[in-house]
């Protein structure tokens, strides 16, 4: 999986690709970390877990990133080294997309980080593209583009 920070006049965008949806979520979150801080210490900070559920893949990605920003402000840590497990809705009525994730919370006083205000839906793309291995034995890779308000 990989991510790149992209130019945006007032804000910053993260473009990411990954073989699986779970890895893609983690890659975008790693991009959020990189947009916040140029150099994250390799060690330090405790891992914490979060869960989110939403009605669609895009909404789940939005809620997941929104939650990371919330945790940053409340725990006073920079979430880093993200791991995710995304699951599609089951057959039951009202069943939702879910993500179970965890991250290393690097204390903010240990880094020189700047504030990302919010995740946005602006220009958000989340799709599976042809080519590569989707990690589940099929062809294709997952792609995301997310603009953050700075």
């Amino acid at each position: 999986m990989t991510y790149e920070l992209r130019d945006h006049t007032a804000d910053v965008a993260v473009e990411a690709t990954a073989p699986t949806l779970s890895a893609l979520f983690a890659a975008v979150a790693d991009g959020l970390t990189a947009a916040s801080c140029e150099s994250v210490p390799a060690e330090g900070g405790d891992r914490f877990a979060i869960e989110e559920a939403a009605e669609s893949r895009e909404a789940l990605l939005f809620d997941y990133l929104d939650r990371l920003i919330y945790e940053r402000d409340v725990r006073l840590v920079l979430p880093a080294d993200h791991e995710c497990r995304v699951t599609p809705p089951g057959n039951a009525a009202g069943s939702a997309w879910r993500v179970e994730a965890d991250a290393r919370g690097v204390p903010l006083d240990a880094v020189s980080a700047r504030e990302i205000k919010a995740v946005t839906y602006s220009e958000m793309t989340l799709e599976r593209r042809e080519g590569g291995d989707d990690g589940d034995g099929g062809d294709g890779e997952w792609y995301a583009y997310v603009v953050f308000d700075v």
């Binding site: 945006h8 006049t9 804000d11 916040s36 919330y70 205000k117 946005t120 839906y121 602006s122 308000d149």
Partner: protein
């Protein structure tokens, strides 16, 4: 007729500094850009014009959607955008107000002159940086316990003054006297309140800052005198907003709109324009929550003002009010949405209308969305504090670290041209990632100090690079256009002495 085209979007010149994107397709109204040719060239370089055109799709938009002279690409609605929407039949859009609800500026006067401060800039910038929380995780001026958060959300600056963080005259010199009467804290989520607890009285980072400035030019003596400004005088400019509490509130309501008003959302060209229909429960709840966030931001700037007064008192060994005259000049928002009554074009049935359908004009209550735009009410309006009513509302335009800022007054044409609005700053020209490639924070700070005697102190070198003077448009040109249009008249120019940021 002179026209210009950018990426397939054609603009016709209506008159000097006024460019119109004609109504076509699904647009409810035309759109207008208030800019010189030079500024229009810059505005046309990114997606600003497409975003402005998209904004005209919002239901109930009356008269043209507007882009101020400092407009640039945002998310959904452009920064520098003004959209007036019928409050009875239209909608309210959180994305057209912005994540940082009541991001704004205030200016504090002093009786100090530049000569009083010269030679002590390093001491002053260090003391301010030490005392005023900035950056991520720096806490706030006070601990935001539950009572403090509720007090701030409910009563704004009134609460802060009762708690001893200001003086009576601070109230009168705030837009809306520092308190939105329709604030409803119960509609702000616990998640948002959680984020606010650690941030009550803090600058944050990005383009937010506190700057000690000197007045270098006065353009309208009589108005400057009413504002208490004169050449050589030292003032303090504070630029910040509602921090995480406001950001969270915006996203909370964007998500609720997505699930509760999906049909309206489907009809819009950009998801970030998500809007709640006027009269819906959600519109009322968002309006009340936004009002509470507006109050929170005013308290945020009030607490920073309080701490700034203490620092000046310590550094200059004087009473900040009795000896240094540190009274608030004005506090004005530039990310805000409010119900306001304006005169609009109406059809034969009295409904707001554009083009040939409009046959007369009538007053209507509107949701005026200002996203990166400043209210600029002219002389005589009752919303302008009594002390300034005869000259017009102060408008504070923060510039970049190396280019200075402006104080304007609401211009006589603002009500007819821009729903009583003007620009809010210089407007970004270069992306943050490009800025970091082109500038190093340390070099920028060193150059500002050695070449322009501007002392900068920041939590993050990257922030200094991203906010380098070269990444912004020419604030002089933005203000020239505002002045020539008569929407915001030049009163005074200020130049940085010390700057602290996150």
């Amino acid at each position: 007729m002179t026209s210009r085209e950018f990426d397939g979007i054609r603009l016709e010149k209506v008159r000097e500094h006024v460019w119109e994107i004609p109504r076509e397709g699904e647009m409810n109204v035309p759109a207008r850009v208030l800019a010189s040719e030079a500024l229009l060239e810059e505005i046309g370089e990114d997606d600003t014009l497409q975003q402005l055109r998209n904004a005209t799709h919002l239901p109930g938009m009356v008269e043209p959607a507007l882009c101020m002279p400092d407009g640039h690409q945002g998310y959904g609605f452009p920064v520098g955008g003004v959209g007036a929407i019928d409050a009875r039949t239209g909608c309210i859009s959180p994305g057209a107000i912005g994540y940082d609800i009541n991001c704004g500026v205030r200016m504090v006067n002093t009786t100090l002159t530049y000569d009083d401060v010269r030679g002590r800039e390093a001491e002053l910038v260090d003391a301010l940086f030490e005392a005023i929380p900035s950056g991520l995780g720096g806490g706030g001026v006070i601990d935001g316990d539950a009572d403090a958060i509720e007090g701030a959300l409910e009563r704004g600056v009134e609460w802060a003054i009762e708690e001893g963080y200001g003086i009576e005259s601070d109230l009168a010199r705030c837009e809306d006297e520092g308190r939105r009467p329709d604030a409803r804290p119960e509609y702000v989520s616990q998640k948002a309140k959680d984020r606010g607890r650690n941030q009550l009285g803090s600058l944050g980072s990005g383009n937010h800052f506190l700057e000690v400035q000197r007045v270098t030019d006065v353009f309208r003596e009589e108005v400057a005198e009413a504002y208490g400004l004169s050449e050589g005088q030292v003032v303090v400019l504070i630029h910040c907003g509602s921090r995480g509490l406001g950001h969270q509130t915006c996203n909370d309501y964007l998500r609720r709109i997505e699930t509760e008003h999906a049909d309206l959302l489907e009809s819009l060209p950009d998801k970030e324009l998500a809007a709640a229909p006027a009269g819906s429960e959600l519109a009322e709840e968002y309006y009340g929550a936004m009002g509470a966030c507006i109050n929170f931001a005013w308290v945020n700037r009030q607490l920073i003002t309080h701490r700034t007064r203490e620092v000046f008192g310590d550094v200059f060994d004087a009473d900040p009010l009795d000896d240094l005259g540190m009274e608030l000049l004005y506090d004005v928002a530039h990310n805000i949405g409010k119900k306001e009554t304006h005169e609009v074009a109406v059809d034969a049935d009295g409904h707001p209308a554009v083009g040939d359908e409009a046959v007369s004009r009538a007053e209507r209550e509107l949701y005026v969305h200002r996203k990166g735009a400043t209210r600029a009410f002219p002389a005589g309006r009752e919303e302008v504090p009594e002390a300034y009513r005869s000259v017009g509302q102060p408008v504070i335009i923060p510039g970049s670290m190396g280019a200075g800022s402006y104080v304007l007054r609401g211009g006589a044409e603002s009500m007819s041209l821009s729903f009583g609005s003007t620009a809010h700053g210089a407007g970004r020209l270069m992306s943050r990632t490009q800025a970091k490639r082109e500038f190093r924070g340390g070099d920028v700070a060193d150059d500002l100090e050695s070449e322009q005697a501007i002392y900068v102190k920041a939590q993050s070198g990257a922030t200094v690079a991203e906010e380098a003077p070269g990444v912004y448009k020419d604030v002089d040109e933005v203000v020239r256009v505002s002045d020539e249009l008569g929407i915001g008249d030049k009163v005074a120019r200020t130049f940085p002495v010390c700057n602290i940021k996150g």
